[in-house]
Symmetry: C2
């Protein structure tokens, strides 16, 4: 889990962020999350089941979400909800993400004004 790096752990991890965010809005099950990400990003982002399910299992193992089996119309589902710990995790991930976005923006906007005193 997580990383031992100094960097925000967020140069990947986007799927986890989106999943946590969606679940914080309302309880959802895996298959639904797959569709929701595609729809709510207007197809710009798409994570398959092979990506989403393992993340859900990891998040549950880490105590960030809890799963509850349901049967609706002959369909078995595992409905997930964020825990208190998961809500904190989401907050952390969101600020980490925004920090990365800000840092990248700095470089892209040529904030190279701060030049290293080399050469």
């Amino acid at each position: 889990m997580s990383n031992r790096r100094s960097n925000p752990d967020f140069l990947n991890g986007v799927p986890e962020l989106l999943i946590l965010q969606l679940l914080s809005t309302r309880a959802m099950y895996g298959y639904q999350i797959v569709q929701a990400i595609r729809l709510s990003t207007k197809g710009r982002l798409e994570f398959g089941e092979g990506c989403v399910y393992p993340i859900l299992h990891r998040l549950e193992a880490d105590g960030y979400i809890t799963g509850q089996r349901e049967t609706v119309a002959g369909r078995n589902r595992v409905v997930y909800r964020v825990t208190a710990s998961g809500a904190r995790r989401l907050q952390d991930q969101v600020s980490a993400w925004q920090m990365v976005v800000g840092a990248v923006e700095n470089v892209l906007q040529g904030a190279t004004h701060v030049e290293p005193g080399l050469a």
Copy 2:
């Protein structure tokens, strides 16, 4: 190179983006890039040499940058410049990055208005 995915290839790839961007501003050498990223992101992002050098080699192998050996004050350096192909690559990566940022923002701002018609 690149990926065979449908997703923008950009949930990682931030180091490459920053390196290309910095090099498009002016010619730089590896060690300098390491410092420049740390400085221009105000220490928020930091990629070590073990990360930067392999990327430089890959970018050069792909024809996105060219390296030129120099010796300054007994120091050996390899100064890199972006090629025309590298400039296009940078443009692509920048728009991919902005697309991802936009998509994530959508989800974070609860643009879940577009709900999947499931359940």
